[in-house]
Amino acid sequence: GSIFIPILSCKGAGNGRCGTIDPAAVPADLVDKLERLALVDFRTKQGLACLEKAVRFAGQLHAVDTSGVEPMDSVLEDRALHLRGDAVTEGDCAEELLGLAERTVEEYFVAPPGMAEAAFMSSHQLPENHREE
């Protein structure tokens, strides 16, 4: 009398993009968008296959009738949670925190230029021999 759903195996579930339309198939432009959001450099064939399997696996949720059901984001939803007073109780540890970063200048974290700025700089770069002057 088991009503457990079968667990899809990752094996053999790989190529979901051939043949009939697969709701789990992820179009290329969407992959680019996701990559820009996720920033994990996973635009590979393997990354895509994994994503499609993950989407297909999640699709099993659609078998559940949830009409009229409120979404639940915490098991403590019915409780008044404790909030502490809105006052600073600790801090003054900037040096300690800056010490954890790979690169800092004075009291700043250092980031490379943003995408747009990097593009601008590379298109406006002076020839190498003019730099030092």
């Binding site: 949720l61 639940m72 949670l81 490379p112």
Partner: protein, 521 residues
């Protein structure tokens, strides 16, 4: 001495049969001799000895801080420890040394407990085997004990079985007698799963009872620090120390009662035990079913009421978890960008390039694929279809439990895992997602609903490996749950690993990675 329970050691200290320093040295020595299990990422030898000496002074002056003073403990490497590396078994945090202690760690230190080190795990706690961390897989100590060796004729080194996960190192630390208690974390079963496979008691308390401050988050609404011990009563002692409101974690709730010792003679006749019929799942081993029935019969013969119950939506728990976990991971992992702490790539032509290459270099494929699919589920066009849908299913799963518990059921009795521990070679035939779905199938629903659950070992399988059963109780009824668990523990007579032929000691041919484990005293 090493196989004693926490209470017995505390007694031995008071009677002067052993001192905290002697015990600490014994444990360090044992860590050294069981290095092949790969349970520890960092061993804090110098610090351990220093803490043990301080404890010794307190004990000799007759002013111990409490029942944990001088007791060696281990901590999963996703809890922040001040001035001690905290890596999450990831390249991303390989050299990260936090400037503060997690609340649960601080509470143990405040009680005089002695930190032995940080334990191995699946990277960022994403896994169910402790095979997917950057420091290599954790080995189950029962692989080297006499019953497994004799029953399976296992001889070659490749026959070792996994510890379960993701808190495998913590379960192994307790099972292999190098620590008397260990902290794990439990989001989908990560404490109970290795607890069951390694033959130790593993408690996931009610959500909110223990502070998450300093626990590097996986899924904020389900993460709970887990407690691994050798006996139920030890688990209750540790829970009593750790529970309660924390000003630094607004999702903590006040403890319903101060946890006094569990009664030795709990009256089981007033208890109603529910057996959820949906837990008869495909893949459940026959031997586990036999143990499940055996314990149900124990209850019945002792006069408890045993009833079959139904949790119709529990079957969707794993899929629901898959969506909720990946979405929260996508959001939680955004903090790792190489700027403020952790690994930073040298590719720095732009901020975005640096972020992406840092995360590519720092995270393993499991983490990256969860981030990617989490972002997919969170896209505007998918948000309602996946994320909100999963949140609705979560309510249905939670309501199932509520219905059963308000109908008069006190505890649910289920298996913890489908089978005993798999051989590493077999386990790694499937990918991480598939394995997590199989391994967490019985444990995950309790996290959905925030319920307390405990796994305890009940027997050795034909292969000579531990089989665990799980008890689940209503929210914040942790004490009653432990009373029932102790009642079972007293009757199943699970053998100690030290009575099963000692663990084979570290050998040269295991091919384990060399770690900065300085030699023990």
């Amino acid at each position: 001495m090493l196989s004693l329970t926490l209470k017995e050691v505390s007694q031995a200290f008071r009677e002067g049969r052993i001192s905290p320093t002697e015990l600490c040295k014994k444990c360090l020595n044992r860590i050294q001799r069981t290095q092949h299990l790969n349970a520890f990422i960092t061993v804090t030898q110098e610090l351990s000895l220093k803490q043990a000496q301080q404890s010794e002074i307190r004990l000799s002056q007759g002013v111990p801080k409490g029942p944990l003073d001088g007791i060696p403990f281990a901590v999963k490497d996703n809890f922040c420890t001040e001035n001690v590396k905290t890596t999450c078994a990831s390249r991303m945090l390989k050299d990260y040394t936090p400037p503060y202690n997690a609340t649960v760690v601080q509470k143990l230190l405040d009680q005089g407990a002695v930190l032995m080190g940080k334990t191995n795990m699946d990277e960022f706690a994403m896994g169910a085997g402790s095979v997917d961390g950057t420091f290599g897989p954790v080995r189950n100590p029962w692989s080297y004990a006499a019953p497994y060796r004799a029953q399976t004729g296992a001889s070659s080194d490749s026959d070792w079985v996994v510890s379960g996960g993701s808190s495998g190192g913590s379960a192994v630390a307790v099972a292999s007698l190098t620590s008397y208690l260990a902290l794990g974390s439990d989001t989908g079963g990560s404490t109970r799963n290795p607890g069951a496979l390694c033959g130790v008691v593993a408690l996931k308390p009610s959500y909110g009872l223990l502070s998450r401050h300093g626990l590097i988050p996986l899924v904020n609404s389900m993460d709970v620090p887990g407690i691994i011990t050798r006996s139920v009563s030890d688990g209750a002692t540790v829970l009593g120390v750790l529970q309660g409101l924390d000003i630094r974690d607004s999702t903590t709730v006040p403890a319903p009662s101060s946890l006094t010792d569990l009664p030795e003679d709990f009256d089981i006749r007033n208890i109603c035990v529910g057996i959820p019929k949906e837990y008869h799942a495909p893949g459940l081993s026959e031997e586990t079913v036999v143990q499940w029935s055996r314990v149900a019969d124990l209850f019945e013969r002792a006069g408890a009421r045993v009833e079959q119950v139904s949790l119709p939506h529990t079957q969707y728990s794993i899929v629901c978890y898959h969506v909720l976990c990946n979405t929260e991971v996508a959001s939680n992992m955004a903090r790792f960008d190489g700027l403020e702490y952790g690994h930073r790539s040298t590719m720095d032509s732009s901020t975005e390039v640096m972020y992406a290459s840092t995360r590519h270099e720092g995270f393993n494929d499991v983490v990256r694929s969860r981030i990617l699919s989490g972002n997919y589920f969170l896209l505007k066009q998918n948000y309602d279809n996946y994320f909100v849908k999963a949140q609705k299913v979560r309510r249905l799963i939670t309501d199932d439990f509520r219905r059963v518990f308000t109908s008069g059921v006190d505890v649910l009795l289920t298996p913890t895992t489908l089978t005993d521990a798999a051989r590493y070679l077999d386990f790694t035939q499937e990918d991480n997602r598939t394995r997590s779905a199989q391994e967490d199938v019985f444990t995950q629903p309790a996290n959905m609903a925030g319920l307390p659950a405990v796994s305890l070992p009940v027997a050795l399988s034909r292969r000579g490996l531990p089989i665990g059963l799980q008890l689940i109780g209503p929210a914040l009824e942790d004490k009653k749950l432990l009373c029932v668990a102790q009642w079972v523990e007293q009757r199943v007579a699970f053998p100690s690993i030290s009575d099963c032929g000692d663990i084979q000691e570290s050998r040269k041919d295991t091919g384990m990675t060399e770690r900065e484990q300085t030699s023990a005293v």
